[in-house]
Symmetry: C2
Subunit: 219 residues, 2 copies
């Protein structure tokens, strides 16, 4: 399920990160030829990587190459609106369907996150946060949750990392993860759903606070 060994995949991951972290700013135009030359490979794997980025809606064909779209703060807020509504469900399913070993795997990410929070390493915190959520999607018992939530969660990694640079926010996030893993370990889908819903809600607040956005209501 998770092999990223081919050149195409490597290039995809690299470009995805570069786009999400602004190395290639919005509006920049990427062409197969230039990328293949700068990366020292042929057009074929570059082309496949661009196809994947296009499917993720991070770039767009603009006639003279692929234009970088990237992720706006507004996109991120909308992603949280969606996550608030379905991550709890995924967590509830996970509480019921995951094996004990899988729950231990999730627990491990919380412990590592605690370690990195004590060190103030926001990059590593973000990594464990990513793993925590992705494992819950993975063990939710249906690929539908995984496939739907993974791209959303991946796309906001830059914003998540920035939030984690504030100690108080990193502490809050960790505390919420602890409540979630506790609910999962006690096999309580209701508690897991509630804890995850609250986590998503708070994470959105933290994002809004970090970037001084009006949280507001949807309508």
């Amino acid at each position: 399920m998770y092999k990223n060994v081919s050149l195409s995949d490597q290039i995809f991951e690299r470009l995805e990160e570069d786009i999400l972290f602004g190395v290639y700013p919005k509006g920049e135009i990427l062409t197969e030829l230039k990328l293949s030359e700068s990366l020292g490979v042929s057009r074929t794997p570059v082309r496949e990587a661009l196809k994947m980025l296009e499917q993720e809606h991070l770039i767009e064909d603009c006639g003279k190459g692929m234009m970088v779209l990237g992720i706006t703060l507004e996109d991120a807020m909308n992603i949280y609106e969606i996550r608030k509504r379905i991550e709890g469900l995924a967590a509830a399913r996970c509480a019921v369907t995951a094996t004990d070993e899988q729950l231990q795997e999730i627990k491990e990410t919380v412990e590592l996150q605690e370690f990195y929070v004590s060190r103030g390493d926001s990059e590593k915190i973000k990594e464990q946060d990513t793993l925590f959520h992705e494992l819950i999607y993975k063990y939710s018992g249906s690929a539908v949750f995984y496939d739907t939530l993974i791209p959303l969660h991946r796309k906001i990694q830059k914003f998540r990392k920035t939030s984690m640079e504030q100690k108080s926010k990193a502490d809050q996030s960790l505390a919420e993860h602890k409540r979630i893993i506790e609910a999962l370990l006690s096999r309580d889908p209701f508690k897991a759903e509630a804890a995850m819903d609250e986590h998503a809600e708070h994470a959105q607040f933290r994002l809004a606070d970090t970037f001084n956005v009006e949280t507001g209501k949807d309508h």
Copy 2:
């Protein structure tokens, strides 16, 4: 935003439909060479089509080719669980952000749907149903909703079509679409959200009834 002209895209659409409708049953193995020969094209576009199908999780690399996964009834039920939670939000946004022309475009699909319901043409009903929902995603004001909901809605088209073969269910669905477009035209996000949420809920019931599934609760 919507150009599907290249061979890759044509092959993708054809294979996607064939997989979703069971022409290629679950477990069947597709190889680039065989497909390229049977379609009379080179491996390159076939390869790209397979990459897209893999990203949509409809096929999976199994070492000796790509194995067809397809969509199970359980997947479809999970997709409805997700749609129930976020389609209402998309509709609410649409009520606020869509232009009058765009709303007319949506209304048009309801009128065509009514025509096809009177004829009992389930294929055409499904097509207009698809268009109705996809336009709402599209005019929801954020690509995030579109990108998230489109693959989910596409994947269950076979189940939607089967449901629409029963006159009573087609009538119900049409009536619900009418309520939604009415709310959209009155620019009422709350009514639009409520009407869409109810529609998704009922559509799930109709699916469950059609295939004799326990609707149950999530947990």
